[in-house]
């Protein structure tokens, strides 16, 4: 409820400001007195933010309605590709396969997101953040570390009273951008994982004792909450909910050896080195980057959209909404509730160039 209330507050504030200022974007919207409906499907991580954006945008431009659905990134991409949805929301950029098969698709960053690792260790105070590394997490998911008081975990957490509780690794049951991010982090930190399992939106999960699979980020939160000893990777927009459910939040080791939580500062630091290198189509992986104070699992959340729209009206309205999302939609009142970070200015500039390609 707190999330909803904060979101509503943010929506109301933004709407008031926008109306007071007579907001209109670079595309001169609202362009049509006739009502138009835009559809969005995809990432469950983006879903809460898209819901807030849809409400605020409709309040500001009553002729435009945006219908959102949390279907997972893979479905979002395929829906945008085949025209089932106007917008796909994805935690991962388009693969070369997607682009070679559908060269009209664009992946436009909307915000900076991250992924945290939560655990269910009931006797541990919320103020304690268990330190975990990619290599240790890989062993937990492989089933070679079976207890929370394993020497490898204790070595990372001197002074922490780790319980003698079986490790219950939780992973996504369906193809998910979150799985891509998490398995990428494990692959870069553990050569054995990289050579035997690797990374992808789905991976051949090892048969670890007590391993569980759940659908969507909400399922990961509830599944972990019901399973003492669980360890789970969850999108940052569900962190508030996870903490509310009593789950602990791990500090993850980055490439520089620092243990960090996903904060505004650590997200910003993680993305910064990649900003000048980002190519014009904004396809870039930022997992386990070089920033000493950067959180290791960060990513752009993407809107997947076709540059060839069926009508000029649809193209204009999509451009208007996307331009709004990467500017006014990146205001703190929208991003703070889901713990996302705003896009850096150069990324916004690249995104605007991509939006301009929509016809």
């Amino acid at each position: 409820m707190a999330l909803s209330f904060r979101t509503l507050l943010a929506v109301a504030a933004t709407s008031t400001m926008a109306l007071a200022a007579g907001v209109s974007d670079a595309y001169g919207q609202p362009s049509s007195p006739a009502s138009i409906k835009l559809t969005e499907t995809g990432s469950t991580l983006l879903y809460p933010l898209f819901g807030a954006w849809a409400s605020a945008y409709h309040q500001q431009f009553s002729s435009v309605t945006i219908a959102t659905a949390a279907t997972g990134s893979g479905t979002g991409i395929s829906d945008a590709s085949d025209g089932t949805a106007d917008l796909g929301a994805s935690d991962a950029f388009l693969s070369s396969g997607n682009l070679v098969q559908s060269p009209e698709l664009l992946n436009i960053p909307l915000a900076i997101a991250a992924q945290q690792v939560n655990y269910n260790l009931p006797k541990l105070p919320a103020s304690t953040h268990v330190r975990l590394s990619g290599a240790v997490l890989a062993q937990m998911y492989e089933g070679t570390i079976t207890s929370w008081d394993d020497p490898a975990i204790r070595a990372l957490n001197p002074g922490v009273a780790l319980p003698d509780l079986p490790v219950r690794p939780l992973h996504r049951a369906e193809s998910a951008g979150d799985t891509f991010l998490f398995s990428s982090y494990l692959s870069t930190n553990d050569p054995a994982w990289n050579s035997s399992i690797g990374y992808g939106t789905t991976v051949a999960w090892p048969k670890a004792s007590g391993a569980l699979a759940e659908e969507a980020n909400s399922g990961m939160v509830s599944g972990c909450q019901k399973t003492p000893g669980c360890v789970a990777y969850i999108g940052i927009s569900y962190l508030t909910q996870a903490l509310r459910e009593g789950l602990g939040e791990a500090a993850l080791r980055n490439a520089a050896g620092q243990f960090l939580l996903p904060t505004d500062a650590s997200l910003h630091a993680a993305v910064e080195p990649f900003v000048p290198a980002t190519p014009s189509n904004e396809t870039i992986s930022m997992v386990n980057g070089p920033a000493p104070s950067g959180y290791p699992i960060v990513n752009f959340e993407y809107a997947i959209v076709s540059s060839h729209q069926p009508s000029a009206l649809k193209a204009r309205e999509l451009k208007a909404f996307l331009a709004w999302a990467i500017t006014k939609g990146n205001a703190s009142e929208f991003l703070n509730p889901v713990r996302f970070d705003p896009l850096p200015a150069p990324i916004v500039t690249l995104a605007e160039a991509q939006i301009a390609r929509i016809r």
Binding site: G74, A92, F93, L94, S95, S96, G97, N98, L99, V100, Q101, P103, S175, F180, S184, S187, T188, N194, S195, S196, I197, G198, Y199, G200, T201, T202, V203, A204, A255, F274, A277, P279, N281, T283, I284, S285, M286, V287, N288, G289, P290
Partner: protein
């Protein structure tokens, strides 16, 4: 002679003058038409050998170099750092070869806007592509393989969405130009007109001589006999040369260019399919689009009825060409067998085993099977090109000296007719 009564009515000197004008005009007209015909055929034949074929080859090589560069660097990326020096040299050589072929194609120019646009796209895109590859290797070597992987994807997108389509367009255009030039070198309309003119002039000469024989009781008019001889010699020469050229160019196209083109297309499709395997491993998106495209390319390549390898086999020259195509068919089956295992592993998300099968060099790996297929396709194209060049060169020499001979013959015909008929005219003064 149908004009006999007319001749009597207009007087013999008038008829002689009329015949002289007709034969001189006919000789000149035949000479001009035949010389133009021979000139055009010789020029088209020369263009096939010296321009169209080298440009078509350059376009095909450019496509292959670009595609090979992409496969080489993405495969090396999958293998992980440190990159072997030989692999880097292979990639650099591919880029250098593509740039050299691009320079050849640019210097040939042409007035097609589409061709110019495709050439410009490659000129602009090649350094962009190389830059992304460099960034991928830099990030990977500094310990950020995921960022490197995303740059490798961007590079491949530049290759597959910009460079290869432009290269394919250029190749199609140059190949069409080669076919057009070959057709022009052996086209029938002009030679038929020349032969018809020769026949008309020949009939006039024959009838004129018969008329003169009846009028003057002289059995031979040496001037007209000289003209007739020159016409007969040059017409037969022209027909023999044209028939020989047509036969040679027919062989060069049918057993050289056609199978080479089919094999080149098979090579392009095989590279596309190989690229599908490698990119599928890099992107790991869970999408089945790569496997679907691999299947499309597999059906194009063959072997089997209506496929590119089938087309190449049916027209390949006996010997090295046919042997290479047969081997390529067997290689393709081996590769498909390895590839079906690759995609089964992908479906099971067994990336490690999939990677070993895709980039491993051992027996039974996709890499080994693809390399053998590519090698046999290249061998087949080389054998076909030997046939093409040999026969096209032979065809182009068929017209050697003929243009000059036609001009000399036309002058002899006109001169002989004038001399022969003016001697008879002199008898009436």
């Amino acid at each position: 002679m149908s004009g006999r009564s007319g001749v009597a009515g207009t007087g013999t000197p008038s008829v002689l003058r009329l015949l002289m004008v007709a034969l001189v005009a006919g000789s000149i007209l035949f000479g001009v038409a035949a010389a133009l015909t021979i000139g055009q055929h010789a020029s088209a034949a020369g263009e096939v050998v010296s321009t169209s074929e080298p440009l078509s080859l350059a376009a095909q090589q450019m496509y292959q170099s670009l595609s090979d560069a992409d496969i080489t660097t993405t495969t090396a990326f999958l293998a992980g750092p440190p990159q072997l020096l030989s692999v880097r040299q292979h990639f650099d050589a591919d880029i250098a070869n593509a740039a050299a072929d691009l320079a050849t194609l640019r210097s040939a120019g042409g007035n097609s806007k589409q061709l110019a646009a495709s050439l410009a796209a490659i000129s602009a895109g090649l350094p962009v592509y190389a830059g992304y590859v460099q960034q991928a290797q830099t990030y990977s070597s500094f310990g950020y393989p995921l960022t490197g992987g995303s740059f490798m994807q961007v590079a491949s997108e530049e290759m597959h969405l910009t460079l290869l389509p432009a290269a394919r367009s250029i190749y199609s255009r140059e190949n069409a130009a080669l076919t057009s030039a070959s057709a022009q070198a052996t086209g029938l309309p002009l030679i038929v007109i020349s032969v018809l003119l020769a026949l008309i002039v020949g009939v006039i000469l024959f009838r004129a001589q018969r008329w003169l024989t009846r009028r003057t009781h002289r059995r031979v008019n040496y001037g007209l006999a000289l003209a007739s001889g020159a016409l007969a010699v040059v017409t037969i020469w022209m027909l023999v040369a044209f028939t020989a050229a047509r036969s040679d160019f027919g062989t060069s196209l049918g057993h050289g260019s056609t199978p080479a083109e089919a094999l080149a297309q098979a090579g392009i499709a095989a590279q596309q399919a190989r690229s599908d395997q490698v990119l599928n491993l890099i992107s790991r998106s869970g999408s089945s689009s790569f496997q679907a495209d691999f299947t499309v390319q597999q059906h194009k390549i063959g072997p089997g009825g209506g496929t590119l390898l089938d087309s190449a086999a049916s027209s390949a020259p006996a010997g090295a060409g046919a042997s290479a195509v047969n081997s390529a068919g067997q290689d393709a089956r081996t590769w498909y067998s390895a590839s079906s295992k690759v995609f089964a592993l992908d479906l099971a998300s067994s990336y490690a085993a999939e990677t070993k099968l895709v980039i491993g060099t051992g027996s039974g790996s996709s890499e080994a099977a693809f390399s053998t297929l590519e090698s046999d396709i290249t061998r087949g194209i080389a054998a076909d090109q030997v046939v093409f060049r040999s026969k096209a060169a032979s065809g182009s020499t068929s017209f050697n000296g003929l243009e000059l001979a036609v001009i000399i013959a036309a002058l002899l015909m006109a001169g002989g007719s004038t001399w022969g008929l003016s001697r008879r005219l002199a008898e009436y003064r």
